[in-house]
Amino acid sequence: MLKYLIKRIMRSFLTLIIILTVVFCLLRLMPIEGYFPNFEKMTPQQIQVGLQEMGLTDPLPVQIVHFFQKLVHGDLGVSRIYRANVPVAEVLSDKLPVSIKLGVLSMITALIIGLPMGALMARFKYRWFDKIGTLFIVCIQAVPAAVYYLFIQLYATKIMGVGLLFQINDPKYWVLPVLSMSLNNIAFYGMWLRRYMVDESNKDYVKLAKAKGMSEGGVMFKHIFRNAFVPLAQYIPTAFLNTVIGSIYIESLYSIPGMGGLLVTVIKRHDNTMVQGIVLLYACVGVVGLLLGDLIMVMLDPRISLGKKEGDR
């Protein structure tokens, strides 16, 4: 197990290095305008000097080595255009906490509401709770998010007595963005948990548990829930980590100063160092998320053992 883990982490590092190298090389193909905020007004000499200062006239392999050397010391470089001459790490550390807080709160809300909702829908299949839940899920899935986001912003802000624009230090202002963001995930977890639980409840071990004399509720929560939760569990770490990406729509709707749309913006504006920094962040999130997802699966399902070749079932 430990051996597998070490191997797996080493491999993750390798993946990261490959991703970064590829992105780094691709960005070298970009026009050099991206390195200077006031490119139009510069003379060719100034440009040449600027490029040399940044080490961009070196051969590509040398540049890559330099890039990784800096990276090891935690230096992500300096933003050139988005916020000229501010270190990338600083730009990110301003924006990240807001998005993470928003995202994590909404994920927790989604799990706290979505999982019990799915479980109860499965328990009372075809009864009124299930019907109402299904209606909710269908609405959330069928109506474009933009519509109900706007709806919530316009009407719920009035009901709650808060302004349209976000105020970061007032907890009241967090409620609506968090809720809006979690709606989709509530529907997701509710729908899949219900579905997996209904699937599980037709299995033989459930019949045996019932024949044993367990109550229906006992069977649901002691046997079915955990089995149904396993296939969902592996996505949860990724979902949590993905909150660093932020939500473009919610953040712009409420003017929340988060990560939402940042990558698109910096790509559009040719801010290459920012792009590198953000890609590194996203790649880390992806790789770590998968690793944690697999570990959770191992913890929940004894049939899955990491590192063993012989697949028993």
Binding site: L208, A209, G213, S215, K222, R303
Partner: protein, 349 residues
């Protein structure tokens, strides 16, 4: 005679399927004695499983008991319980496991893959025996030993996927035993196992019956299994028990043409070089009302009356009865097929 533990009177079970009504069990009556092993045999779809599931309230959602009664005499306070009158889940929980337990066909799927087998057996102990966790664990280890699992302490903490099929079926049996039931329903307990393991599991059931004073209902379509273990045999066809008697009576002196046909289909009986016997036609459509003897259309020896009126039970001996007009005094004398003679003389079983 011996004490009854269960009597079934005119039980009818119907299923609602796509707006139509399927008569799965059509007026079955039988009785079961304490401590016996009663085998129910019949082809797939004859209603064996449905029949016994109704004793535990485990019919599928669309099925219901439409008539008759199932009276259970085994409860500790000595009261008779009509199982068909139980409606609430809460009342069923007093019966399930505690009074009647069940072993299902496929041991590969009937254990929860995410729980240790120890936990799954202990769950049954804690549900039905008033003991603490420590004692429950000790009992669990004892049950594991009882069902023939080596190193119970080690096995206790293992998961189902670490067990072979036969071992899993032993665990399932241990779970059933841990409920301390009076009746054990074994629904094709050996069908999914390979032949060498089958015998072991049957021996285990025989052994446990004595140790725990169980009455066993064994559902099977394997007559070899029946001959091996059963005290009495009920032959089921199209939702009805058409013949019931002791094991010897059914094998050596059967009276119903369907039982004859079943026995003729035994591969052990076939003569080398000839085709295996098979029963012509298909079982009747249970959506429609069945007139007369359900087996008549497939029965070359059918009498005219077989198509008109349903035969009642005719008593052959105090322990043996069959539903066929052939036993009516007015019926022409029909010789059983040579198979019956062959089994009797050859002692094939």
């Amino acid at each position: 005679m011996r004490e009854h533990i269960l009597t079934v009177n005119d039980l009818e079970i119907q299923f609602k399927l796509r707006g139509k009504c399927l008569n799965a069990i059509r007026g079955v009556s039988m009785e079961m004695y304490k401590g016996e092993i009663l085998a129910i045999v019949g082809e797939s779809g004859s209603g064996k499983s449905v029949f016994t599931k109704s004793f535990m309230g485990l019919l599928e959602q669309n099925g219901h008991v439409a008539g008759g009664s199932v009276v259970y005499y085994g409860s500790d306070d000595g009261e008779e319980v009509d199982l068909t009158s139980i409606k609430k889940e809460k009342d069923w929980m007093k019966i399930r496991g505690r009074e009647i337990a069940m072993i299902m066909q496929d041991p590969m799927t009937s254990l929860n893959p995410l729980k240790t087998i120890g936990a799954q057996i202990m769950e049954a102990v804690l549900l039905h025996q008033k003991v603490g966790r420590g004692e429950a664990k000790a009992k669990t280890l004892e049950y594991l030993t009882d069902v023939g699992i080596q190193d119970p302490e080690v096995r206790f903490n293992q998961y189902p996927h670490e067990f072979s099929g036969g071992m899993r079926q032993r665990v399932v049996i241990a779970i059933a035993i841990a409920c301390k039931p009076k009746i054990l329903i074994c629904d094709e307990p050996t069908t999914a196992l390979d032949v060498t393991i089958q015998a072991q599991i049957l021996d285990l059931i025989k052994e446990l019956r004595h140790k725990y004073n169980l009455s066993v209902i064994l559902i099977t379509h394997d007559l070899g299994v029946v001959a091996n273990i059963a005290d009495r045999v009920a032959v089921m066809y199209a939702g009805d028990i058409i013949e019931i008697g002791t094991c010897e009576e059914i094998f050596y002196d059967s009276r119903h043409p369907y039982t004859w046909a079943l026995l003729s289909s035994l591969p052990q009986i076939g003569v080398k070089g000839t085709d295996l016997f098979s029963i012509a036609g298909t079982p009747p459509n249970l959506y429609a009302e069945v007139h007369g003897d359900a087996f008549a259309p497939r029965n070359p020896r059918a009498l005219k009356i077989d198509f008109v009126e349903r035969p009642p039970y005719f008593q052959v001996s105090p322990t043996h009865k069959a539903k066929t007009w052939l036993l009516d005094p007015r019926a022409p004398k029909v010789e059983p097929p040579s198979v019956v003679e062959k089994i009797r003389n050859g002692g094939l079983i």
